[in-house]
């Protein structure tokens, strides 16, 4: 005999939460969705990767040098993210000291900063080649739709939960 304790799909981002709400699902904020974590995580990683790749790789290099640099940048992003988390935490601490954003969890404040940096990088990608421009545009449209969804959810009781 087996038992399960599985809840209906919940999401973190407003756009996905509003889609869930329109489909009769649960619109409360949660960090429990693996698909959402992978989708957003990989998209952010791709935008950062492409941003630094366009920034660091000159076009006059040999193909093998470009390949080497592309591999190095994959790891560079990781090394970039670690201090980025720390710098963000310092910024959040400073904001807390000024009495700002004290009621939201630190990781949500971090999320706002990550979103801001990624959006700036996506903007920069708009000036690159057409395929990269497309990815940048997709991110910007998603951010705009997410912000619009957040406004809708703010006026909706369905999405309210303690601490959400």
């Amino acid at each position: 005999m087996n038992k399960t304790d599985k809840r209906s799909a919940q999401f973190y981002f407003s756009l996905l939460r509003i889609i869930a709400m329109l489909r009769g699902g649960d619109a409360t904020r949660a960090e429990s969705n693996g698909f959402e974590a992978w989708l957003v995580g990989l998209t952010i990683y791709s935008i950062h990767y492409l941003f630094f790749a366009t920034l660091f790789i000159p076009s006059n290099l040999e193909p093998w040098q470009i390949a080497l640099l592309l591999v190095a940048i994959a790891f560079w992003i990781w090394l970039f993210w670690l201090p980025l988390l720390y710098i963000n935490s310092v910024i959040i601490q400073a904001l807390h000291m000024c009495g700002l954003f004290r009621t939201i969890p630190i990781r949500r404040a971090q999320s706002t900063l990550w979103g801001t940096y990624t959006t700036a990088m996506a903007f920069a990608l708009l000036k690159s080649s057409p395929s990269l421009r497309e990815l940048g545009a997709i991110w910007l449209v998603a951010v705009a739709m997410n912000l619009a969804s957040a406004v809708v959810l703010a006026f909706s009781d369905a999405a309210r939960s303690p601490g959400a």
């Binding site: 304790d5 973190y12 992978w38 990781w78 993210w81 988390l85 990550w114």
Partner: protein, 346 residues
């Protein structure tokens, strides 16, 4: 001391158990002393904090749990796994050697990828335990063997025998929460003193006071303390898939190879007349777990040799363990040697 006298007076069989443990008592105190002095020396060395099993990584994990947006975990775990795959060479070699035994005929190159997968699962496992402890996030879970888990929840004294598999730490906290019962975890000591302190504090915090941690080097009195707890109806959880330190051991066979397993849980079960519940917490997806409970093992007290009864129970445990490890080799976090070579077995 009083506890010991009381235990001996209560049951003469304790004397036998006492002999088992007191044999190693002197050795243990020597080891404890040498560990303490080693710890003093090592704490002086700042760089030890950054060793693979140093406390820095545990503290960093706690910090990251508070700070990291949830969607950064998949990518960061991949890179952290790469990092430890290269730097935790002894653990990598042990897991590789284990895989060759668990999956006979498997290729060495593919097994390297399996080691990576095991490390990656470990990264998720410890980070999700930290998320449960710090962020108080809830996890989805499925119970396999619910009948036995309910039995265990209602048991007046029982031993939970588990392995270094899946999220053992999270499981104890979930169990304490679900059944509103106290549980005593007996763990192998961490090589780094600060890491051990950090882990104990984490486990106790995660269990919100319902989880008490004991280390199996705490001295011979631990066995009496555990026996007392079992007789008072408590649940004691012990990892029984390998020997750590100089404890009383029993030879056994896993995957056709010689291993030495701790005989403490079996002796305790026999003396305290309590069943042993094999229980494992396996990760089944993103913030999702399976609580796997197998049929309880009873250690008989026949008129035959006591060792025969224990050996029979150990044999049953080994079959359960073998089945679970074969199914979930990617979650068997055996980072210390377990299988014995023919030379070691002599």
């Amino acid at each position: 001391m009083l506890l010991r006298v009381w235990c001996v007076a209560l049951n003469p069989q304790i004397t036998q158990m006492n002999a088992d443990y007191s044999e190693v008592k002197d050795q243990k105190s020597e080891i404890a002393n040498s560990r303490q002095s080693a710890d003093k020396n090592s704490s002086a060395n700042f760089l030890d904090r950054f060793a693979v099993r140093g406390v820095f990584w545990r503290q960093y994990l706690d910090w990251a749990t508070v700070n990291m947006p949830f969607y950064t975990y998949p990518v960061l775990h991949c890179f952290m796994t790469f990092f430890f795959f290269f730097f935790a060479a002894p653990a990598r070699r042990i897991v590789l050697a284990n895989l060759a035994i668990i999956l006979p005929g498997s290729s060495r190159a593919v097994n390297y990828l399996r080691v990576f997968r095991t490390f990656y699962n470990y990264a998720w496992t410890i980070s999700e335990a930290a998320i449960h402890k710090i962020n108080k996030e809830e996890f989805a879970y499925e119970i396999i063997g619910a009948k036995w888990l309910d039995q265990l929840g209602a048991a007046q004294g029982a031993i939970v025998l588990t392995a270094h598999m899946g999220n053992y730490d999270l499981g104890a906290a979930l169990f304490a929460e679900k059944f509103n019962r106290e549980i005593r975890l007996v763990r192998a000591p961490e090589p780094d003193r600060q890491t051990a302190q950090h882990l104990s504090a984490s486990l106790e915090k995660s269990g919100e006071g319902a989880v008490k941690v004991d280390y199996n080097t705490a001295g011979a009195l631990l066995s009496f303390d555990l026996l007392n707890a079992l007789r008072l109806g408590e649940i004691v959880s012990i990892q029984g898939d390998r020997m750590d330190g100089d404890l009383a051991e029993i030879p056994a066979h896993l995957f056709g190879r010689h291993v030495r397993l701790p005989n403490g849980p079996f002796v305790l079960a026999q003396v305290a007349h309590v069943p042993i519940y094999p229980l494992f917490i396996a990760r089944s997806g993103y913030r999702s777990y399976q609580i796997i409970v197998r049929e309880p093992i009873t250690v008989l007290r026949s008129r035959r040799d006591r060792e025969d009864d224990i050996a029979q129970a150990v044999e049953k445990w080994c079959r359960v363990l073998e089945q679970l490890i074969a199914e979930r080799w990617d979650q068997w976090f055996a980072f210390a040697p377990g299988f014995l070579s023919d030379e070691q077995n002599r």
